[in-house]
Every structure is written in structure tokens, then in C-alpha cells.
Symmetry: C2
DNA sequence: GTCTATATAGGGATAGAC
DNA sequence: GTCTATCCCTATATAGAC
């Protein structure tokens, strides 16, 4: 071990608790803690979905799962899931019809798995966030950034869930709605906590403000064409949402 | 003509210019000018769609058009347009398969007609609004209310267009996007006009603020379950959106 | 103007070879 | 674990009777 390396390790590890996510809300800090793409993502998919699969060998499964889900997004998010046939998917993935059925129990299983992965990911990230002791302002900032980063990295997953929600069975539709309820509730709790602590001053309806915040966050995956056309990057947008909330909540930094 | 009637006519007609839409932004005033449901709506549909129909007799056509579109919304907005078969629609409307094809050229014609009716309606209402001479604050107020009322009265139409947009052909998808662009632009112009006139004070990105406003308005038909659960009525929501904008724009009434 | 009956294509799913 | 070949069903659309 040379001196330079020891130094750099010391410099990075000592202030880790303070400078890492969620205190540091940069996308780099977020990515260091939450890896929502590449192999860790497909392992997550495998763990959620493997009981529906005939293939038990992890190595080959991961590779084909990636193909299947990636191509599903390409096809379903452009023409719609229902109008994508499994023959389309077979052609796109270069896996035969019979082969596909070794990875999915049915077509609707595929949609179901996508929703389940998204829901579990949000729950994990939000639960972790809740476990940190943050004041209302920093908690709000971290939650906005975390959700926006998830919306960005997994935008195809989120878009699919939003648009194809009604294709899911009733139980799963219900769960997706409950999740949005919980998300709004978390936001509302932060607003209320800040109001009680005197750092926010807002006399309006906190439930509606939470709903509006959720809506702004969802735009990031629903209206990509708009942000591309405006050349808005994710840091700009996070700043915009927070400034907007600060104005409404009369927050003085 | 009796005295009572003359009186009431006088009372209502004299202050009409000042008290009617868009100066009066109540839903009643809006409805007096824009009738977006009942027979006038189906005549609007007929005028947009009649060249695609085999039936030329207006009387029977109107009745069946209403059945076809109403049932399409019920089926498509719950299970998805693509997964609704024309057999489903035939059963629901109690019109035979052959009968349906006297009213639509093809299944995708039906979706196309829905988008066209919505787009034409928005264009009409927005063009009329633009023709009035209003200061920024009143123009903003009228635009928010008008759009929200349209979103409410025709919520099934709007919901269909949002969710089924990618099922349309490329040309029509492009037109739908252009329309949202124009809508955002109108909002942005109002913000800028108010800033230049000194009634609004806002240093942020007006394009993003317009996009966020559009998003909040769209929630009214995208998240009906949420507003129902919160028991938010349309007047509350219009007030919430405006208050939110006033805070961000630092507007002093 | 509305119906029934039918043509034709394409969908999801599976059996069984390799 | 992956393929090909095939089953059976349901989809859109139309022809032609009434």
C-alpha cells in the first residue's frame, strides 16, 4: 500500500457519515449507496421474480432477464404493452417463444414483475431515508432528490407502471395506489413537522401540496420530451421543485 | 311578455359584459358560454367525425355516436383501449359488429376521433380566451379555471388522450404534443407579461413553472381517486393552484 | 340503416424434440 | 435450457340478407 492511497482512503472515510447520502444530495452520493442499474438491478429482478421462472441457474437467467425486460420497455413504452405481442418480444430479444416461457409464466406476469420491482425499490429507498434523523428542510431536500434520481435512473420502469397500471390485476393496482398514498403522506408529514417547528409557514392544504409535489416529480419520467426540449437537467429540476416549495412554504434558508 | 320576465332580462343583460365569463370565473358562468356535454357535444363530435361515417342521417347518428363514445370510455378507461375488443364494445352499446362499422372506419379511427375532438375543443376555448383583453392576473385566473373546467367536464376524454396517446399515429401524436407546447407557452407568456408589468416578481425559470402548472391541472383527470379521497372540489383545487402560483410569483392582490 | 355469418390473420400458450 | 411446430382462440373487418 503506497502513501497516496492511504491518504485518499483516510480523507474519504473520516467524514463519510456527514458527507455521504443523504446529507450529500448529489447524484454521485446517491449512486454510491443505491445501485439501481446494471447487475445489481437484475439481481433484484431475479430475487423478486425467480419463483415464476423455470430457469434456476442464476448466471444465464440474469443475462436473459435483462434482455427480456429491456426489450419489453422498448416495445411497450412505444406502442403499449397490450399491443406488443410475445412474437414481437421474441424477435426483439432473439429468444424463441418457447424460450420466453421459461422466464415468464404468462404475459401479464411480466407486467406484474415490473410493478413489483418498482414498488420494492421505492419502499427500500424510502424506508432507508426515514431511518435517518434529519430536520424537516433536509429531509424534504433528500426525499425530492432521492425520488427524482430513482425516476431518472429507472424512468422506463416508472413510465411503464404509470401507463400500464390499469392492465394489472385489481390487487396490484390497489397496491400501486397505496404506495402513492404513502409517498404523499411522507411529504405531508414533513410539511407538517416543519410548520409545527416554525421553519415553514403555510396555511394552505398540505395534502394538496404533497399531491402537487408528487405530480412535479412524476413529470420527470412522464414528459421527458419536454425537459429535453427545454434542456433542463436533473439538478436544475430538483432546484426548481425545491424553490417552488420554499416559496409556498415561506421557508427562509 | 309579463313584467317579471322583462325585469329579469334587464337585470341579467345589462351587466353581462362585466359579469359573464371570463370576468366571472365561476363554473356556472363558464357553462353558460361553453356547453361541453349533452347534445352540443355530440354535434361537435359529428362535425369532426362525420366524413368517416357511412350514416349521414344526423338524428340517429347522434344517438348512436353518444352510445359508442360513452361505452368506449367506460371500457377503454378501465381496461385500456387496445385490450377492449370491438366485440366488447358491440355488447356494451347493444349495436352489432356490422352496425359499429357504419359509424367508424376502423378501431383506430375511434381513438383518432377522440383526440381530434379534444384538441379542437381546447383550441376553441383558448382562442376565445386570448381574444379578451385581460390583465395578467385575470388572464391567469381565467385560464386556470377554463382548463380545469374542461378537464372536469370532459375528464374521460382527457384521460383517454393522455393514456392512449402512443396508440395514435405519428402525425396525431405530434399534434397532441404541439398542443401541450402551446398551452405551456400561453402560461409562460402570462408569467412574463406580469413580470414585465411588475405585478409578478419571479426570478426562476418561467418555462418550468408553466410545465408544473400544466402538470397540476392534468392531475384533475389523472388522479380522480386522490381528489375524491381528499374530498377536494374543483373550486378548492382552482384556489390551491392559484395560491401556489401567487406564492411563487410573489403576487400581491 | 342494421343485422348475421363468415373470412382471414394473429394472438397466447404448450408439447415434445434436441 | 432452448428450440420448432402446432393448438386453439379471439381479434378486426367485411359481405350480403333484410
Amino acid at each position: 500500500m503506497d502513501t497516496a492511497k492511504v491518504e485518499s482512503e483516510t480523507v474519504e472515510s473520516l467524514p463519510e457519515v456527514l458527507d455521504s447520502w443523504p446529507h450529500d444530495t448529489s447524484i454521485e452520493a446517491f449512486r454510491r449507496v443505491w445501485v439501481l442499474e446494471g447487475e445489481p438491478l437484475w439481481e433484484r429482478v431475479f430475487s423478486v421474480h425467480h419463483q415464476r421462472m423455470q430457469i434456476k441457474n442464476g448466471k444465464t437467467a440474469l443475462k436473459n432477464l435483462q434482455k427480456i425486460f429491456t426489450c419489453t420497455f422498448r416495445l411497450a413504452n412505444s406502442q403499449g404493452f397490450h399491443s406488443m405481442s410475445l412474437r414481437d418480444l421474441s424477435r426483439e430479444t432473439e429468444i424463441s417463444m418457447g424460450g420466453l416461457y421459461a422466464y415468464i409464466g404468462s404475459k401479464s406476469d411480466l407486467a406484474s414483475a415490473i410493478e413489483a420491482v418498482v414498488r420494492q425499490t421505492i419502499d427500500d429507498v424510502m424506508a432507508d431515508l426515514a431511518s435517518h434523523n434529519l430536520d424537516p428542510h433536509h429531509r424534504l431536500k433528500a426525499m425530492i432528490h432521492a425520488d427524482l434520481y430513482m425516476n431518472d435512473i429507472m424512468h422506463q420502469w416508472y413510465y411503464f407502471c404509470f401507463i400500464e397500471a390499469k392492465g394489472l390485476d385489481k390487487e396490484q393496482r390497489e397496491e400501486a395506489m397505496q404506495m402513492e398514498f404513502r409517498f404523499d403522506q411522507r411529504l405531508q408529514d414533513i410539511f407538517k413537522e416543519g410548520i409545527n417547528a416554525g421553519v415553514f409557514k403555510y396555511a394552505g392544504d398540505t395534502a394538496l401540496l404533497a399531491a402537487a409535489t408528487t405530480a412535479m416529480l412524476q413529470q420527470w419520467y412522464l414528459k421527458r420530451w419536454k425537459f429535453q426540449s427545454l434542456q433542463t437537467d436533473i439538478a436544475d429540476y430538483a432546484g426548481f421543485i425545491l424553490d417552488n416549495l420554499y416559496a409556498t412554504l415561506a421557508y427562509q434558508p
